[in-house]
Amino acid sequence: MKTFFQNPRVQRSGRTALILLLIIVMTGPEGSGTQPTAGFTGSFGNHMSFFGLFYPQRWVVFLLLTLIVVGLTSLVKMAHRWWIERQRAGNNAVARVAKTLAATKQRARHRSTRLSLYAVALAFALYFPHLVTDQSWQTLVVQDVLVYLLLALGLNVVTGFAGLLDLGYVAFYAIGAYTTAWVTGSLPTPPPFGVHWNTFVAIPVAIVFAMLCGVLLGIPTLRLRGDYLAIVTLGFGEIVYLFINNSYGITGGSTGTNQIPFLSFHLGPIKYLWGLIPEPYYYLTLAFVVIFLLAFSSLEHSRVGRSWVAIREDEVAAESLGIHPLKYKVMAFAIGAASAGFAGVVTASQTLFVTPPTFTISFSINILVLVIFGGMGSIFGVVLGGLVVQGFVAYLTHSPPSIYNAADLYMYLGALLVVMMIYRPAGLFPSRRRRREVSQVEAGTAPDTLQVEIGAHRVQEDV
């Protein structure tokens, strides 16, 4: 007999409420030496605007938020159940709609339908700057959405496709940005051959350099598995951060540099300068997002993609079938690093400055949130997750509601991730395979993985 508390829905709601409670306290006022409990009491007692509608005490706001989250999710569940019941009962109208939906789904699998959908999305993306003409918005879209998409797509190759948890991904982004600064001669270190190169030259250099670092880091560390790899990559991220923060003579130290020139090219009669106006940057970054999308989705279904899946599922078996695990893992690392390196060039050349505080661990986590939120291993999911989350972040940055304090951003992202794990552990739009992996682990019905584990232990003990 199950008690009330064992009901999974009650448990989920309870956990959601707990997280929101934690957020009330964390985002509330601070305590002080004379009034140590002020942070706690103020978190509940103070008044705060509820989306500008009314102005209740803080605890009321968060209670309402909890009710909204729980209410929405149960509403969706209830609607789904109602739908299925009607269908079973043979309701004609419902059956007809269900049929149409199924047909649409079927059609969506078709290549031509998909391609036209992509074309529409692309057309919209191309038209976007004419739709949103506010330049501060456009800048945010480039810096907070498109660059993050590039990074998320790259991390998705490492974490989603190859299954390697990389917590130091920001390091490659930093390497890309600092390489740009170096090549264009904006660092204390003299640029290569003493020439202040055009920023375009920085693109291949940064990509190659980031890739090289990925390979150099990967070869010794990718023999490690799971948590150990995560720790090593975390350490790598910190090393890079500390290096750029402390080597004043090489990287400019904690002040970094603000001398990076705009992107420009000058080929005979053709001249173009990407100036302060964000629109050209928007198109440039968009072009690269599209290129990465195409490249990575063809990679997913290639020989390389299949060997990543095999390694992710069972490394020993993959090896016995002739797949060199280290080679393919390093490849995933290098590809991820290359996209981060490129994103670094874009950021550096658009913001014109690089400083160490950008490249901290929380940035890596932010990118990881996008990948997990969207659905690991699913390019479509990652793009959509990135658009939703970063679009929202851009909105918060552009016109912050009074309820929002910019310092709390990562807390909200963390809460989002936890709530996501409660309600949809495989992400918004998981790839089919990933969804199966997660649901089987959850239900504890992954017989073979269990057996494989036992098998592995036996091999080790059989000495």
């Binding site: 095999a310 993959a318 016995s320 002739g322 797949i323 073979d448 098998g455 036996r458 059989d462």
Partner: protein, 235 residues
């Protein structure tokens, strides 16, 4: 075909194999018997490149393969069915078989059909996930996956582990068919009776060394084997 001579394998300070020597000739089924901890699995790990011997040599078709890495073996013509089957649980049966042909550049559709003839159940389950198959079906899948690379030598690690007697019969029958089709087989087993009935020759391992070897038919009636592995008391 396969020649192992005085191979020593160490795990750190512990010597797991004390210089074992044996051979597998073209077209045979050879079985390696032994209790838990006798060194059977270590031997197979060594043969598939997962653990290199500290001394001694392994030659395959006249080539020295002692230092060859694990992922190179399948392209050299040695296929390994690992202990515990290790199929890819989230891939369909067909995808598993395709992974088996990873190293091949030519068309392998015929070979997949051949596997489906050998194991008709796999054809039925073609679109199902490997992880949802029964233990016996998984073993069949693991064997056919290994056969997809066209090996000349097939290494089987405990194919009977955890399976029902009827399924074991079926699997051993098919191992015989694989031999008849021209693939040499080395099978490591605890189920001595089954293995010896199928095999041409057998080696018995004890404490990391080969204790004795003989023709399978003779081993089947050897009192030492009968006492230890077939559960009969020595009169």
């Amino acid at each position: 075909m396969l020649d192992v001579s005085s191979a020593v394998v160490r795990y750190g300070a512990i010597e797991a194999l004390h210089g074992i020597s044996f051979e597998v000739r073209q077209g045979e089924v050879v079985t390696l018997l032994g209790a838990n901890g006798a060194g059977k699995s270590t031997t197979l790990r060594m043969l598939s490149g997962l653990h290199a011997p500290t001394s001694g040599t392994i030659t395959f078709e006249g080539q020295d393969v002692t230092k060859v890495k694990a992922h190179m073996f399948s392209s050299m013509g040695i296929s390994h069915v690992p202990e515990g089957r290790r199929i890819f649980p989230q891939m369909t049966v067909q995808e598993n078989l395709e992974m088996g042909a990873f190293g091949r550049k030519d068309n392998y559709d015929d070979d997949m059909e051949k596997m489906f003839v050998l194991f008709p159940i796999l054809k039925e389950r073609r679109k199902q996930l490997g992880g949802n198959l029964s233990g016996g079906e998984q073993q069949m899948l693991a064997i056919s996956r290994a056969m997809m690379s066209h090996p000349r030598l097939l290494l089987l690690d405990e194919p009977s582990m955890g399976l029902a007697p009827m399924i074991i019969d079926q699997i051993f029958h098919i191992i015989g068919e694989i031999r008849d089709a021209g693939t040499t087989v080395l099978v490591v087993e605890q189920n001595a009776a089954q293995a010896l009935r199928l095999a041409d020759r057998g080696y018995v391992m004890e404490n990391g060394a080969i204790a004795f070897s003989d023709d399978a038919a003779k081993l089947l009636h050897d009192p030492r084997v009968r006492a230890v592995y077939l559960g009969e008391s020595v009169d």
